[in-house]
């Protein structure tokens, strides 16, 4: 775990808010507001946060499915933000995305074989149709599905099976990095664990690197090496998974962890119930974005955004409490 596969520096994605007769831009939704991190080869970086924290936008900006407003995304040392359209399309072979909704992410008009061959056709892999079909069969088996399913259509599968197909599609081009955007959120508990296990196995076997985006803390903890906590498009905390849960430093992380219901009736935990709603990313609070709900907010939090600092070894936090 030495080599950095992906290096994100000060990534920003602002969506313009247009108003008025001429649709002038009157402001921006700061969906992603200055995110930097590095992902090592073979690592899983978990990204957590509540809705509107920009985690999905971040994932898509890294892949340039949404053009980032600014920032650098170095993939194996190449800044892919600068790549031209054609180069970028070729680059997509290296980095794939698995979606949340297993019902919406498969083209209902494509058979499974077509779905899985599509990436091969686009990138002109495996010369003949037979070779491609052969590859499809192997892929299906790899994700734990019967090779005969190739002829079927998505509606004939259950959610878990579809998610496996989605993963197989991502694998079809032999990517190095897979961004998993809430891959198990739509699945039932019993199936969710199947998919998580599959992901772990694939990572081990193929040496994949994951960015795992989720809102479910227990799932993220389970699969991640390190975890990045986002709030309103900004980074709050970044640290190894075990440590985040053992010793959360940021008040937001602490509140988040305490709010997770634990399937243990005897668990006695001190619950921090945050007041109020999430502020709108279109109009984020000044200073530290969390200060409006923070139980330990100080006047300075309102004025200045806290620095991103390494408080403990490899434990980064943005909070004035640790200034």
């Amino acid at each position: 775990m030495a080599e950095a596969l992906l290096q994100v520096e000060d990534l920003k994605k602002y969506f313009p808010i247009r108003r008025g007769v001429f649709q002038r831009t009157v402001g921006h939704v700061r969906a992603v507001d200055g995110i930097s991190f590095t992902v090592q080869k073979g690592e899983t970086l978990g990204v957590v946060g509540e809705s509107g924290c920009g985690k999905s936008t971040m994932g898509r900006s890294i892949l340039r499915l949404i053009e980032p407003t600014s920032g650098v995304v170095n993939f194996e040392g190449r800044n892919i933000v600068r790549l031209r359209k054609g180069q970028m399309q070729a680059m997509r072979r290296q980095m794939q995305l698995v979606f949340q909704d297993p019902y919406a992410s498969l083209n209902p008009r494509f058979s499974i074989a077509q779905t899985l061959m599509e990436p091969m056709i686009i990138h002109n892999l495996y010369g003949s149709r037979e070779e491609r079909l052969d590859r499809v069969r192997r892929l299906l088996e790899r994700v734990g599905l019967d090779a005969d399913y190739a002829r079927r259509y998505p509606h004939e599968f259950s959610g878990g099976q579809r998610q496996r197909i989605g993963i197989a599609r991502a694998l079809a081009v032999d990517p190095k990095l897979i961004i998993l955007d809430e891959p198990v959120a739509a699945l039932d508990v019993s199936v969710q664990s199947q998919v998580l296990n599959l992901l772990e196995d694939l990572q081990e076997e193929l040496g994949l690197t994951y960015i795992f985006i989720a809102h479910d803390l227990s799932v993220v903890r389970h699969i991640s090496d390190r975890i990045l906590v986002l709030y309103l498009g900004r980074m709050m905390e970044l640290v190894e998974a075990e440590e985040l849960f053992a010793d959360p430093l940021h008040p937001y992380t602490q509140a988040l962890l305490s709010a997770v219901p634990v399937p243990d009736p005897d668990a006695k935990r001190e619950r921090i119930i945050l007041q109020g709603d999430l502020p709108s990313p279109a109009n984020p609070p000044s200073g530290c974005p969390f200060h409006t709900r923070c139980p330990v907010a100080k006047p300075v939090c309102r004025e200045r955004a806290p620095q991103w600092k390494e408080i403990k070894p490899k434990h980064y936090v943005a909070c004035h409490a640790y200034a």
């Binding site: 199936v191 664990s193 809102h215």
Partner: protein
């Protein structure tokens, strides 16, 4: 402490493609006054259908049999008019999607006071005052303004508070909450669960909490019934179920959950998929996925067996 609701041998069948399929089979449970009962299970297990059948809100073509006794009256036999006077008054309900459960064209106040007007015979002015009070009691800031706003102006959490206000408007005996926090963020979920506990305590309202989230069950419920493929497979006090699950399904469910504490170990999933309505297995419906399934499981379904006091399980392993 009597039972406020007794469901007995509830069977619900849906018509699909000119055939009837059993979505809920032989479901029985009861809720005591002031108690919170959790009905837990994966999607498609029939838990929402059960809750809707209590309110008699299932749309045809469905067939319902069995008994749903509310304070001794079988709701299934009640004329529609009497049923209406129970809905929203004595039994009320909140739903999963706060974003779509409110009528977009009516003001918040109108929607809350509708219950009051329907059941409490309040004048418009009284209803408005009561509405503002309700909004306040569910923790909505600026209730005097919010009362005249439209749902789309509120956040999801706020809308769920409004839904709770609607449900609690007539101080019901029983509140049915169908996945009330599934669509919400964790921090908001904590707020809403907190609120539900508070209002239920204040009004001595019993809760039937329908959820797939075992964590929520552990936090909220006194007792829990676990459903699988249209049947209750295990039922008992929360602590016993979590400490000492008896049904292989309950066990598997708990084992497949990633934990927020303790060492990270490999998850142990339940194999296979939840069966679909049209392809229900013979015998015990969990048998095809059960690692401990025996021949008998694949032929006949088990009856309930008492494990401990008030802890029942439907499994052949406990037949003796």
């Amino acid at each position: 402490m009597g039972n406020i609701l007794e469901v007995e041998n509830l069977n619900i069948q849906f018509r699909l493609d000119e055939k009837y399929y059993t979505a809920v089979q032989d479901v029985s449970f009861s809720i005591r006054e002031g108690e919170t009962l959790g009905l837990v299970g994966e999607s498609g297990c029939g838990k929402s259908v059960t809750s809707l059948s209590i309110m008699r809100l299932l749309q045809p073509p469905t067939q319902i049999s069995g008994q749903i006794r509310y304070q001794g009256k079988n709701l299934l036999d009640l004329p529609e008019k009497q049923m209406r006077s129970i809905r929203g008054n004595e039994i009320s309900m909140i739903f999963q999607e706060p974003m779509t459960s409110l009528n977009p064209v009516h003001r918040i106040g109108t929607q809350i006071s509708e219950s009051l007007i329907l059941h409490k015979d309040l004048s418009g002015k009284q209803a408005r005052q009561e509405t503002i009070r309700l909004l306040q009691s569910v923790g909505i800031p600026r209730p005097e303004q919010i009362v005249d706003e439209f749902p789309h102006q509120l956040s999801g959490g706020m809308r769920q508070r409004v839904m709770i206000a609607i449900a609690m408007a007539c101080k019901p005996q029983l509140l049915i909450a169908d996945e009330p926090t599934t669509a919400l963020d964790v921090t908001i979920q904590a707020q809403i669960l907190d609120l539900m506990r508070k209002v239920a305590r204040e009004n001595r309202t019993s809760i039937l909490l329908i959820t797939h989230d075992l964590g929520v069950v552990a936090e909220m419920c006194d007792r829990v019934a676990v459903m699988y493929a249209g049947r209750i497979v295990e039922e008992g006090p929360v602590r016993q179920i979590f400490r000492n699950p008896q049904h292989p399904y309950t066990q598997g469910l708990l084992a497949s959950l990633p934990k927020v504490d303790g060492p990270r170990t490999r998850l142990q999933p339940i194999e296979g998929n939840v069966p679909s309505l049209k392809n229900m297995p013979q015998g015990c419906r969990f048998a095809p996925r059960c690692r401990r399934a025996m021949d008998v499981c694949r032929q006949r379904d088990a009856d309930f067996h008492l494990v401990e006091d008030a802890h029942r399980v439907r499994c052949w392993l406990h037949a003796e």
